[in-house]
Amino acid sequence: MAMTEEEILTGLGEIIDEVAGVPADEVSPDKSFVDDLDIDSLSMVEIAVAAQDKFGVEIPDDELKNLKTVQDVIDYVRRADVSA
């Protein structure tokens, strides 16, 4: 069954809290990883690895530079989830 946007956001909040110490309630779809959440390129790799464990969706390194906001990741996971 496909994950809802809300489920992905909740899971992503847990991951970002774990990886970067940003409280989950600060993780909203409009937030930019670099500008709002102070997450750098290495933390993005850790988020991608954790997302693969949690959502079963692989996010390759080449894709990471395109994922600038929380919404970008939600969209990526939903697209991959639907096509899987």
Binding site: D40, S41, L42, M44, E46, V49, D61
Partner: protein, 322 residues
């Protein structure tokens, strides 16, 4: 055909290290390239590093570290019959570094070879030394990791010149002798993946080191903690009983990530990278020497080593501090 009788086990007798005199701080680098102390500390965990003098060679540094290890071992040069230098930055392809280093240390006619497993080199060399002692093909082995990475770095490339540095570390390996004495070098867990060869490489003799930081970070933070745990399992050592974890000093965030997944919260985790930078095959024996000098680890302590880097190659084993 007759075969040699080996020792029941091998152990480390002593360590030694050498670092060049010149300290290069992050602010020094920020004066010539677009970077900052804060950026370097947060991404790789380095505050300063040591860089060799222009005329200071890999062999010079190897001799300095090897001489200290030999002096601390209680052995004389005549007792050493094998010298292994782990390096990926030899001055020239031939002659090798090891034979010259041996002669300069007064070690006459030992087996001598260089070994290139990049940043995993020291753990590979330690494993081959241990196996030679156990097989009876060597009695006492001088193992050295020595690198002059500064000569292979593009000092205008801010993604690499902030990371790599120079130095040497060494250990003397000998046989377990007494009946009640335990082996001091556990079984190695080693491997490689040439499919990732281009992730960290020097493309040709006129090129500099390049690495794909995100790819290497992903590999190191996902593939290596199982290798580390397997080395503990093969040695029959519970990670919860380790006194220290000394991984290759590649990047503090990689080190901390692997350490978190190891299941050894009590173990002191080496952070020599902060003031030494990434010295490839030299980083593990340098970190061990520094921790012993500071009294952070002592005789009889079980310590897990984990080397990893270009190749891609990796190796891990548990050792006992002499």
């Amino acid at each position: 055909m007759r075969l040699t009788e080996g020792a029941r086990g091998a152990r480390i007798l002593s360590f030694g290290k050498y670092q060049p005199a010149r300290v290069v701080t992050n602010d020094d680098l920020a004066a010539t390239i677009d970077t900052s102390d804060e950026w370097i500390r947060s991404r790789v965990g380095i505050a300063s590093r040591r860089i060799a003098a222009p005329d200071e060679t890999v062999a010079d540094m190897a001799v300095a570290a090897g001489g200290k290890a030999l002096a601390g071992s209680g052995l004389s040069a005549a007792d050493i019959d094998l010298v292994v230098v782990a390096t990926c930055t030899p001055e020239v392809p031939i002659p090798n570094t090891a034979a010259t280093v041996a002669t300069r240390l007064g070690i006459v006619a030992p087996g001598a070879y260089d070994l290139n497993a990049a940043c995993a080199g020291f753990c590979y060399a330690l494993a081959t030394a241990s196996d030679a002692v156990r097989a009876g093909t060597a009695r006492n082995v001088l193992v050295i990791g020595a690198e002059k990475l500064s000569q292979w770095v593009d000092w205008t490339d801010r993604s690499t010149c902030i990371i790599f540095a120079d130095g040497a570390g060494a250990a003397v390996v000998g046989p377990v002798t007494g009946a009640g004495e335990s082996p001091g070098i556990g079984p190695v867990v080693w491997g490689s993946d040439g499919g990732m060869a281009d992730k960290i490489c020097i493309a040709d003799r006129n090129s500099f080191i390049v690495q794909e930081g995100q790819a290497v970070f992903r590999w190191a933070t996902t593939a290596l903690h199982p290798v580390a745990k397997q080395a503990c399992a093969r040695a029959g050592v519970d990670p919860a009983s380790l006194a220290a974890f000394v991984p290759h000093q590649a990047n503090l965030r990689i080190i901390e990530s692997i350490a978190r997944k190891l299941g050894a919260p009590q173990a002191r985790v080496a952070d020599d990278i902060v003031h030494s930078g990434n010295t490839s095959s030299a980083s593990i024996p340098m970190a061990l020497s520094a921790m012993i000098e500071r009294g952070e680890i002592g005789s009889g302590d079980a310590v897990l080593l984990l080397g990893f880097g270009a190749g891609i190659s990796y190796a891990a084993q548990v050792i006992t501090i002499p």
